[in-house]
């Protein structure tokens, strides 16, 4: 199994979720994160004092998928979240040793 972590723009979350559902992805987990990268942040001024805000709000989408599905999931995410502008985000893929569904104790792909 693979774990796919995608860091995308907030307003793309809805699209990605829908695209993945169509693909038959049963579940995912979302985390609010702040990103630092090529996309520069902005500066804010409070009563004349400037603060550089380097971190840009993003959402992280985590999906555990079976080997077979992983590539299509990746492609789907790219398609749904790409704007072509700096700050679109990244996708990280890593191996999962095991997955368990707490409710039933099922393991492996059946647990997804």
């Amino acid at each position: 199994m693979k774990k796919i972590e995608a860091i995308v723009r907030h307003f793309k979350l809805e699209d990605v979720k829908n695209a993945l559902s169509e693909l038959g992805i049963a579940g995912m987990t979302i985390t609010e994160v702040r990103g630092f990268g090529r996309q520069k942040g902005h500066t804010e001024t409070y009563r004349g004092t400037e603060y550089a805000v380097d971190f840009v709000p993003k959402v992280k989408i985590e999906i555990a998928v079976s080997e077979e599905k992983s590539q299509s999931v990746i492609d789907t995410i790219i398609k749904a979240s790409q704007t072509g502008q700096i700050g679109d985000g990244k996708i990280f893929v890593s191996d999962l040793v095991e997955t368990i569904r707490i409710r039933t104790g099922e393991t492996g792909n059946g647990a997804l």
């Binding site: 001024t45 409070y46 009563r47 004349g48 603060y51």
Partner: protein, 467 residues
């Protein structure tokens, strides 16, 4: 309480009772009975306004200032700032009840009040065994219960030290803040209040007056200059917050700051228009110029930012309103609407410069700009009062012109003198108090405590628990 059987409310207010029955029943009218009735009516009108004003001024400290300041600090210190406001509402009120009012308004000596009002003596109601009725005391010879004057002034005694908290926010020990407030209130506020408002060395036309004394309708010197200057001393003595200049110290919740600013604006009507101590035409004049100056302050600060940063911020607009309110405070009963607009607009720009240019230039950490807004704005207001004051508002000098605009000059000189005296006194007294506390118990929270935040360190609480 409501329907009362034999010997009720109307025994107490015999006057009233007789009066109304006099109209409602067929009882005969006399000039005396009508006069008593008119007197009771006058008391009713003035009491209604002064109690409302007192409530409005308390409203300025909490929730007003508590939210305004609370929003400007970092999340980890939000409760500590609110605690300062709430605790001072308790502490300063008790001091005021025990001796503060007496030290401020007892007698009319040159330097400090006397003991006539200690523990509310000669203020509270007493029982007259001869007439078998309660004795009610009034303020001077006006139709206003003395209680109204006492409690209204007591609200000022709360907010003034609370304003100072803006300078040492996020790093001062709570215990030290408590001791500081007791000493500062007693040794700085009370005398100053007596000097300006009770015939002391800064009171207009007082026999003791320096340079003829000052016009300070609602507290330019007593409240804003004193707190603003003392705030600067605190910032200097206590030093900068850890990470000042490098860390992200953005206001954690500007929605609170706007909420608080709105409350301050509304409460300030009580502060300024209430300072007339009567519900009359001049009170409405003070209300109007207060509103106009606040409005102009919003535009002043916002326009400055628009030019300077390309964007007007809501923090700027809110700060501008406060700057305009501070500036008009000493002038509220003395200036007409158009000068008020000008004063507010100038205050908005000058205070914006004080916060945005002066502070970085000197590098002190006046965390919430208590000096930048109250010290600078108060001084500006006191001086401009000498310029724009007019007898058309308050003919306080027997027909003589007041401000420079109507050809007077004595007032202007008096204002400058009063500002100077207030500043010098505030600096010296505050520095001494701070040094004493620093030696005795220390002013500043531990570095770890500062890092964790005062909420947990000093109060064992957290502001938001959102999971």
């Amino acid at each position: 309480m409501h329907r009362v059987w034999p010997g009720g409310c109307f025994v107490l207010t015999l006057l009233l009772a007789s009066v109304f029955s006099s109209t409602l029943s067929a009882q005969e009218l006399t000039l005396e009975s009508v006069d008593e009735k008119a007197q009771a009516a006058a008391i009713a009108g003035n009491t209604a306004w002064m109690l409302t004003s007192s409530a409005l001024v308390l409203f300025m400290t909490a929730p007003g200032l508590a939210m305004f300041y609370g929003g400007l600090v970092r999340k980890k210190n939000v409760l500590s700032v609110m605690m300062q406001c709430v605790f001072l509402m308790g502490l300063m009120t008790i001091i005021w009840a025990l001796y503060g009012y007496s030290l401020s308004f007892g007698g009319d000596g040159a330097y400090v009040g006397n003991g006539e009002y200690l523990f509310m003596n000669n203020v509270q109601r007493t029982w007259d065994a001869d007439t078998e009725s309660p004795v009610e005391l009034f303020y001077l010879d006006t139709p206003l219960p003395l209680y109204c004057h006492m409690v209204f002034q007591g609200m000022f005694f709360i907010i003034t030290p609370a304003l100072i908290c803006g300078a040492f926010a996020e790093r001062m020990k709570f215990s030290a803040m408590v001791v500081f407030s007791i000493l500062w209130g007693t040794l700085v506020y009370c005398p100053l209040c007596h000097w300006v408002w009770d015939g002391g060395i800064l009171a207009f036309n007082s026999p003791h007056a320096i340079a003829g004394g000052a016009l300070d309708f609602a507290g330019g010197t007593v409240v804003h200059i004193s707190s603003g200057i003392s705030a600067l001393m605190c910032a200097l003595v206590i030093g900068k917050r850890k990470g000042f200049g490098s860390e992200d110290m953005r206001p954690h919740n500007l929605t609170y700051t706007v909420l608080g600013a709105g409350m301050l604006w509304v409460g300030w009507f009580g502060f300024n228009a209430g300072s007339e101590l009567l519900s009359d035409h001049l009170a409405s004049s003070a209300f109007v110029v207060t509103h106009f100056s606040a409005a102009a302050g919003v535009l002043g600060w916002s326009i400055y930012e628009w030019f300077h940063n390309g964007k007007p911020s809501v923090l700027g607009a809110a700060s501008g309103a406060v700057a305009g309110l501070v500036c008009i405070t000493p002038a509220a009963g003395f200036v007409n609407p158009m000068p008020a607009l000008l004063m507010g607009f100038v205050a908005g720009i000058v205070c914006a410069l004080a916060c945005g240019k002066l502070k970085p230039a000197f590098g002190y950490d006046d965390s919430l700009d208590a000096f930048g807004v109250h010290g600078v704005g108060g001084t500006l207001g006191a001086i401009l009062t000498g310029v724009f004051a007019t007898r058309a508002c308050w003919n306080i000098d027997g027909g003589n012109p007041l401000g420079l605009i109507e050809g007077g000059s004595q007032v202007f000189v008096g204002q400058i003198a009063a500002v100077a005296v207030t500043i010098v006194f505030s600096i010296v007294a505050t520095l001494i108090i701070l040094k004493v506390i620093d030696i005795a118990m220390g002013l500043r929270i531990s570095p770890e405590g500062e890092t964790r935040g005062l909420d947990i360190t000093d109060h064992g609480e957290e502001g938001y628990i959102f999971f």
